[in-house]
């Protein structure tokens, strides 16, 4: 399986993602934002970080970079695009995914483990995954998902909500919402469910000496589904 990780100026989880993808069997390459295109890939990843310093709005400036048109085309043709954290923010800014990520409700950066409940398994990312609740790590200042009522309705109607913040038992109530996100949304799909944007960082949880191992589960499952 081939993957491409796109590096924007200010990306800082690009290496972490590269390590994770390779660990689970992807042949990964790093792509510079100023390139017009990327080589044939089974998965394109927009990594976390602070592209362009998160200046103006997070993800907004990266959303205008040269490579983005190819990403949009690739996504429209059904290619798998995964945006983690800042990558998710970029995907909403380009309009590939609806809504926007606003500042956390407590206006503080949060770095900690959270639980998320998988809301939909009829897609390449979560099909066959053995757990319903994952323990993942978040590290962001703008993870407070918001969208219009119409967008929300369409997300719900099409089962496009991918993961929701919850407690270890799977309760998705507001007490377990770290950042104020609408409906505890931690990640969403596009209509075709080939594009996934999510705030948690599975690439930071790929061995037992780190914050946990549910990231391993995510990547193992993903590459399994692509084979």
């Amino acid at each position: 399986m081939k993957s491409s990780v796109i590096i924007f100026p200010g990306s800082n989880c690009d290496r972490d993602m590269d390590v994770a993808l390779k660990k689970f069997g992807f042949k990964n390459q790093m792509i510079w934002h100023n390139d017009l295109d990327f080589p044939k890939s089974d998965l394109v990843v927009l990594p976390g970080g602070f592209s362009y310093g998160d200046y103006l709005r997070c993800g907004s400036i990266a959303g205008k970079s040269k490579i983005i048109n190819s990403v949009i085309k690739y996504a429209e043709s059904g290619g798998l695009v995964l945006g983690i954290c800042n990558g998710f923010q970029i995907l909403t800014e380009t309009g590939i995914l609806p809504g926007i990520l606003q500042q956390n409700k407590d206006i503080e950066f949060i770095c900690k483990n959270v639980h998320v409940k998988i809301n939909d398994k009829s897609n390449k990312y979560f099909k066959n995954i053995k757990k319903d609740i994952l323990e993942l790590h978040i590290a962001h200042n703008e993870g407070n998902y918001f969208c219009s009522n119409d967008d929300l309705k369409s997300l719900e109607d099409n089962s496009q909500i991918a993961i929701k913040y919850c407690n270890s038992k799977g309760d998705c109530n507001y007490n377990f919402n770290p950042n104020g996100a609408l409906k505890n949304i931690a990640g969403i799909f596009n209509k075709g469910k080939n594009v996934l944007g999510m705030m948690p960082h599975p690439e930071r949880m790929i061995d037992k000496y780190l914050s946990g191992e549910d990231g391993s589960l995510f990547f193992e499952n993903l590459i399994g589904n692509l084979k």
Partner: protein, 730 residues
């Protein structure tokens, strides 16, 4: 403008210093030249009050690749790997503008590290604030934490540990000390010493603006009521540009294009250009019209003094300009050849086709003043006797709950949760333990780091305090299973022109030196911050020590959370019950007098090495050093972290349980050992003549001591964790 004595004094120079400049030059300096002198002869660059004493620090060791004197210190961690690290203060700017002050502090220390060719792999911080009751404290704390996070998070370097302290002596002078560790290949280290004549001198990074002019002199000025006027000297940090600068520099460093490189920190272009030339015993010529400027009509004076952030100065190998330019342009950074090295041994500045400064380098560097400030010795305070009847009405559980919830002991998660501590995917011990630990990427090795200070001890007796901080750093590193290698130090003190403050400085340095020598724990880098004083009130002497250790196999790292019930809890090191200067004395008995706990370097070393030994034989389940608050606080934290209880025994020969539980004797550790390993552990400890006690065992729930103490871990946890978030919320 004709320079005169008054103008010189306005630039922070003394009358005598100005006279000396005129004599050395054999003429009056012009205003640009005066700017060079004022920057270079400033305390911040010249270390004129401290240099004499810093020479006494212990700086050598087998693993030291680079000691003090470069941008940062470097230690060997085996194979071809080396760790570059340093701590630096940004106290004054952070008091004036907490967010930007703290942020640019973090930015500055990271540049010191990557300028040597290292990729930063961990940040730490030591922050000191005034009393929580002080009106300013909350906003300063909030701003500083946001600033540290704002910069480090954006760059993508994990902040893995730190230290936070509150004391009224910081009401008007907070301390913000930032530390960075970087990883470098031993064979690819870059230094700031220029070499060779006619080599291009290039400027890269952000443009130069009018910000921070006089920042270096402000860093050494005493605050007064006119603080407002000094305000515009705070700079705004641009972490995004720093991230680009980091990547661009590392990209250029993959071959040998660079002869010397130096970041533009305090005193910007002035100190960077002069230091590079001075170290290489060369001259340097700069055309100031070539310096990329952000603002119109900047004068040579302004360009030389600007402290705009995110800039570097590089001496390149001839013919490498095109290659370098291409890299910096790829990263969207300014690049300009601004001058060349010469054999004149002078700094020569040109602007609009005329020469605007012409000064021999050695006058600015080696000839900078060095003072033997007067200082007063500090006597060891008299011992105090704590009267038995004072303890009569006290209950252990009340004392425990009170002490564990005091500002200086309670949990600081509210702070470190705002720092990205997991980016880079190698953090294996997060903040909250005795030291932060990151793996050396792609290897089995890991590096542990901790930062400590003990202003109360240092204030009570600077010599003991100085030793104690070094020992505490050493203990923290041992507790996580690492071999301590070396330290960096940030010496935050009051006004050196006052004998008392100077005495505190001299004796703390002496203490640091003694301990680091004895423990073979050399100082490889550091920074001095004097004049932490507002309206005549100075801070308590506060040396911050940043220690670094190596774990050969990261799988053998130790954490402090209790692991399993029925395991035995040992206290290693002797408990005498020293209460003076303890949190117990202060908080429960309202007693602030008396000497700090004594440091016995022999025991310190012996205990530490013995703990290391049992850890290396895989006999230890968890370990935590005993620091503020004493044994019972240490054990409580291990319970809280492990969500386990502990049953404590009646201590043999114990005279007073308050002394025993809350005394702050030094050189002690708590370790958790499996029952079946106990004999082996005892044997090793006995062989090394280490004093130890079996104090109890790990249980499923509750912390108990006979029938005198029974407290649930939830209650303890609440007491430990609630203070800071509640304080910040109200």
């Amino acid at each position: 403008m004709e320079v005169n004595e008054k103008i010189a004094i306005d630039h922070g120079l003394s009358k005598d210093e100005f006279a000396k400049i005129c004599k050395l030059l054999k003429r009056l300096p012009n205003i640009t030249e005066l700017a060079l002198f004022s920057a270079m002869w400033n305390e911040h660059c010249s270390y004129k009050s401290s240099r004499k004493h810093l020479k006494n620090l212990h700086t050598k060791g087998k693993k030291v690749i680079q000691g003090p004197g470069e941008n940062a210190g470097i230690i060997d961690i085996g194979d071809d790997d080396a760790i570059v690290f340093k701590i630096e203060s940004h106290n004054h700017p952070s008091f004036i503008e907490p967010y930007q002050g703290a942020a640019t502090g973090v930015g500055g220390i990271m540049r010191d590290v990557f300028t040597m060719g290292a990729r930063p792999i961990a940040n730490l911080n030591s922050i000191h604030f005034g009393s929580p009751q002080n009106k300013k404290t909350k906003n300063l704390l909030r701003g500083v934490v946001k600033g540290i996070g704002g910069y480090g998070n954006c760059i993508g370097v994990p902040t893995i540990a730190g230290q936070t302290c509150f004391d009224e002596s910081y009401n008007g002078n907070i301390l913000v000390n930032a530390m960075t560790l970087g990883l470098v290949n031993k064979k690819k280290i870059f230094y700031s010493k220029a070499a060779g004549i006619n080599k291009p001198v290039i400027y890269v990074g952000s443009k130069t603006g009018r910000d921070g002019i006089h920042g270096a002199s402000m860093a050494s000025a005493i605050f007064d009521d006119k603080i407002e006027e000094k305000k515009p000297t705070v700079q705004v940090g641009d972490p995004f540009t720093e991230k680009l600068l980091l990547e661009a520099c590392l990209e250029l460093m993959t071959d040998n294009s660079i002869i010397a490189i130096q970041d533009m920190g305090a005193a910007g272009l002035t100190s960077s250009s002069i230091e590079m030339a001075s170290k290489g015993k060369l001259g340097i010529e700069i055309n100031l019209n070539k310096v990329p400027c952000r603002e119109e009509k900047m004068t040579p004076y302004e360009i030389m003094l600007s402290e705009s952030q995110e800039r570097m100065l590089i001496v390149l190998e001839n013919g490498k300009e095109t290659k370098a330019k291409k890299i910096f342009e790829k990263w969207n950074l300014d690049f300009s050849v601004i001058g060349k090295t010469t054999n004149s041994k002078k700094i020569e500045l040109y602007f609009d086709n005329s020469k605007v400064a012409d000064v021999p380098i050695d006058l600015l560097a080696e000839n900078a003043p060095m003072y033997e400030r007067k200082w007063k010795k500090n006597k060891l305070p008299q011992k105090i006797k704590f009267k038995k009847e004072n303890f009569k009405s006290l209950k252990i559980s009340d004392c425990l709950k009170k002490i564990i919830s005091t500002p200086n002991i309670s949990n600081k998660q509210w702070i470190w949760r705002q720092y990205d501590h997991t980016v880079m995917g190698d953090t294996i011990q997060k903040p909250g333990g005795d030291a932060g630990v990151v793996r050396v990427h792609g290897t089995n090795k890991a590096v542990a780091a901790s930062v400590d200070s003990s202003a109360l001890y240092c204030y009570a007796h600077p010599l003991t305090g100085g030793k104690q901080v070094v020992c505490e750093s050493w203990r923290n590193l041992i507790s996580v299973g690492s071999d301590p290698i070396a330290i960096t130090n940030c010496l935050n003190f009051g006004n050196p022109e006052k004998e008392k403050n100077m005495g505190e400085f001299v004796e703390c340095v002496q203490g640091i030196s003694e301990a680091s020598k004895y423990l073979n724990f050399p100082v490889v880098s550091g920074n001095v911050s004097f004049y932490n004083e507002t309206k005549d009130k100075g801070i308590k002497p506060t040396p911050s020590i940043g220690g670094v250790g190596l774990i050969k196999n990261y799988k053998h790292m130790i954490t402090m959370d209790f692991k399993n019930k029925n395991n035995i809890i040992l206290v290693i090191g002797k408990t005498e019950g020293h209460l003076a200067q303890s949190v117990f004395a202060r908080e429960i008995l309202s007693e602030k007098k008396g000497p700090p706990p004594e440091i016995n370097l022999f025991n310190e070393k012996n205990n530490g090495e013995s703990v290391s030994k049992i850890i290396s034989e895989s006999l230890v389940e968890s370990c935590h050093d005993v620091s503020l608050g004493g044994i019972l606080i240490a054990i409580s934290k291990m319970c809280i972290m492990g969500k386990k209880g502990a049953k404590l025994n009646n201590i043999k020969g114990l005279t007073n349980k308050f002394d025993y539980f809350f005394g702050e004797d030094q050189g002690r550790y708590i370790v958790e050992v499996q029952k079946e390993n106990l004999n082996k552990v005892n044997k090793i400890l006995d062989e090394n003549s280490v004093h130890y006690e079996e104090i109890g065992e790990v249980t499923e729930e509750n912390l108990t001591y006979n029938d005198e103490l029974k407290i649930s871990i939830e209650v303890l946890n609440d007491a430990y964790t609630k203070w800071l978030p509640n304080y910040m919320d109200n």
